[in-house]
Amino acid sequence: MHVNNEKYSTVEEKNSDISRPFFLLKHKVSIWRLIPFLVAALVFTPVIVVFSSFFMPANEVWQHLVETTLSSLLINTFWLSVGVIAGTSLLGVSLAWFTAVYEFPGSRFFSWALLLPLAIPAYVTAFVVLGLFDYTGPVQTSLRIWLGSELTWFPDLYGRGGVIVVMTLAFYPYVYLMARNAFLTQGKRLLEVAQSLGLNRRQGFFKVALPMARPWIVGGIMLTLMETLADFGTVAVFNYDTFTTAIYKAWFSMFSLPAASQLASLLIVIVFVLIIIEQQFRLRMRFAETKRSARAGGILLSGWKAKAASFFAASVLFFAFVMPIMQLGIWAANSLLQSFDQRYLEFLLHSVLLSAMATVITCFIAILLVYAVRLHSDILTRIAVRIATIGYALPGAVLAVGIFIPFAWLDNQLNEWLSLLFQIETNLLIQGTLGVMLIAYMTRFLAVGHYPIDSAMQRITRNIDEAAMGFGLSGWAVLRSIHLPMLKAGIFTAATLVFVDVMKEMPITLMTRPFGWDTLAVRIFALTSEGEWEQAALPAVTLVLAGLVPIILLMRQTDK
């Protein structure tokens, strides 16, 4: 009897070993432990490389930069940040409040339509605004004809104000989205509490709704700020010098990679301060989380208040989305015969190919990370994943520098060795290949791909695995019939987001692309730096159409 029992149990053990998913097998576990750390190391290398140049001895170009432009860079960046923060929080919070709490003509429509500007890259809005409103543009020209005089009062677009306005129009949806989410989760409930305690609605907004939404609003502002600091295309179009353009110039006009890296190190310090602030507020967001209360319809606005709310939302939507789209459409139609040619198709093909490759790599690594955490969710692994997904905060220009430097160094080493051993002169073996560029993309957009897959995985509880195994399914069968179908939606979302982000990405592409790999974004940069707005319209329209896809996905998610 006793012997029998023992025999039985060993059989069972064997069986259970077989029925374990392949990734749970004991002897293979070690590699899953390593993966998050390997990815984290890969992502963090450019950060360390760039940051270490902060302490590098000053070279001539750097000295020159410090003496001539550094102070103006800092001042420009500071005022740009202040302006964009003020603009986006004003627009984002007020629009979020109106659409979340009140009902007015079109409020349902505006609540999703106000997200649409996210589909237009800021650098596209930038050149449309310039094309429309600068001296030779249709607005000023027709005003001159109509008034019969020079427009001395017309504001100078190429100043701080122009960039701030454009970025506000492009980035306010981040604040809007976060703030609206906060106002909806609070529900009207807390406002009602305030009212039942003797506060009127205005007091309720300032004493309850706003303070409670603060973590979300700050989260939105942080996103905006990161986008602002990372932006290259918009400031380039406006000739408004910030760190990103300065990095580009140091590298490609003054040919000083060290100087570019030192500029990047300054920017990275600023970014890290932002990351720390953001993390703090993310923690608080978790505390403040309440159940989303059922909404029995908003408070009905009537009379002039309703009209004012509709007018406000409509004008923001007009300037941020409708006007740029219309102007792009007109230009694209005008220039279609010229722009739609062999070269356009080539740029499009490059964009799609690069995005597809980057998407596959990024999603693959994201899946690896997600599985690794599922197997070992200890604190070290989670920290590694946190570091691995930090790239979203790193400006593309910084990443480009940080990734290029180590590869250039590797190339030099290889070159030395090869010439020493085989007397072969190989220049640029690694740098200037697609690999460098794809790694840079992956680093920047891993967080974008990781988040949807991770949340899909979290919905698969361990009980589901065990239930499946209880039915006698083997490890591979569990993966195939349970995990993959349940992860499919998350992987799809991740792939869409990464694909479109890579397509729109400008500085990384511009700085690390191999010769002959011009994309739509690079083409837009080239054309707009020469003021060829009309020619840039077709590539821009293409990017906007691609950009609409993830926005629609996002809307469908927030509707639920």
Binding site: R189, S196, L197, N200
Partner: protein, 354 residues
């Protein structure tokens, strides 16, 4: 006594869907009222109308004799001096307990506010928690904070929307008695909304049973149980079954469990239409109306039994095939399928026309 709150023919609708249908009741100063009903009967909407969050489509609401709501007017909630405890408590997560309780005292001086907050925290037994945040407290403690916060500005009327529904049963019972004591000690007029009879019975002085936006009966717990005004109340409150009967003479009804002669609820005497001789009626039989009797000629088969400690609630199958409920001392432990003798022993019974 003064009437503090008066609802007169109140009507409310969400679009085309009528939620409250010409509803009226009065509440005296110092009384604790309760709206009791199944979910979706409109009881929470009544509360929200009184608080001023929902406009009326007809009728009026008077507070202290002053009209606060009618079809085309609604005094803003913040001017009504009506406090509210919400179902999910809705504490401000970014404020400490003391700040939450003091929130409604924004017009008071700091000294007054501090004093009032500490008094209230003492009343609800949470003095040590003053500097904690809501997420650090248990459900029962959060509930007490919500109560203290609503009481702080000294409202004329306190509204409580399912205040105990998020708590587990043992805590619910204890806390509901505690809350009643607090309200009574401070002479607070309050209305509670719940779907739980026990809660209503233990807290309220007067209860309105609601169904489809109407109050079916506005009465004390005793009367709701023993003198239900209609079949809905009879069914909703307590347990029991209807047995068909035939009126033999005034005050004399024949049922399958024998002839009932005495203690027939007066409704039957006054209402000739129901009780003229020969008319068919339904008699409400509560589980405690049927007792065990060895020598009885009426026999019933045990279908189910639910042990309740001192008693066992038996579901019995009568000879006619109808079921009846009987609460019998648990010393009489009968097996399922066993035939037992029963007899009717009702102090009084309620009769409805068939």
């Amino acid at each position: 006594m003064d009437t503090l709150l008066k609802l007169h023919q109140v009507r409310h609708a969400y679009g085309k869907q009528t939620t409250i249908n010409y509803l009226s009741f009065d509440l005296e100063k110092g009384e604790i009222g309760c709206l009791l009903g199944p979910s979706g009967c409109g009881k929470t909407t009544v509360l929200r109308c009184i608080a001023g969050f929902e406009p009326l489509t007809a009728g009026e609401i008077l507070l202290n004799g002053i009209m606060v709501s009618c079809a085309n007017f609604s005094l803003p909630p913040e001017q009504r001096r009506v406090g509210m405890v919400f179902q999910d408590y809705a504490l401000f997560p970014h404020l400490t307990i003391a700040e939450n309780v003091g929130f409604g005292l924004h017009r008071k001086s700091t000294v007054e506010r501090t004093q009032r907050v500490s008094d209230l925290l003492q009343t609800v037994g949470l003095t040590e928690a003053a500097n904690k945040y809501p997420h650090e407290l248990s459900g029962g403690q959060q509930q007490r904070v919500a109560l203290a916060r609503a009481l702080a500005p000294n409202p004329d009327l306190l509204l409580m929307d399912e205040p105990f529904s998020n708590l587990d049963i043992s805590l619910r019972e204890r806390l509901s008695l505690e809350v009643r004591d607090i309200l009574k000690n401070q002479h607070i007029t309050a209305i509670l909304v719940t779907h739980d009879q026990d809660e209503a019975f233990s807290v309220a002085d007067v209860i309105g049973v609601m169904h489809q936006g109407k109050i079916m009966q506005w009465d004390t717990a005793y009367n709701l149980y023993h003198r239900p005004a209609n079949r809905f109340v009879a069914n909703f409150i307590g347990q029991g079954v209807f047995l068909p009967g035939k009126v033999l003479a005034p005050g004399k009804i024949e049922t399958e469990l024998g002839i009932l002669t005495e203690h027939i609820y007066h409704q039957c005497e006054s209402d000739n239409e129901i009780c003229h001789i020969g008319s068919e009626v339904d008699v409400l039989i509560r589980p405690d109306d049927i007792v065990y009797s060895n020598e009885s000629t009426s026999q019933a088969v045990v279908m189910h039994k639910a042990f309740r400690g001192a008693e066992i609630l038996y579901t019995l199958k009568l000879p006619t095939g109808r079921t009846a409920l009987s609460l019998i001392s648990s010393h009489h432990n009968h097996a399922i399928g066993e035939k037992i003798g029963i007899k009717l022993e009702a102090d009084h019974v309620v009769v409805f026309k068939r």
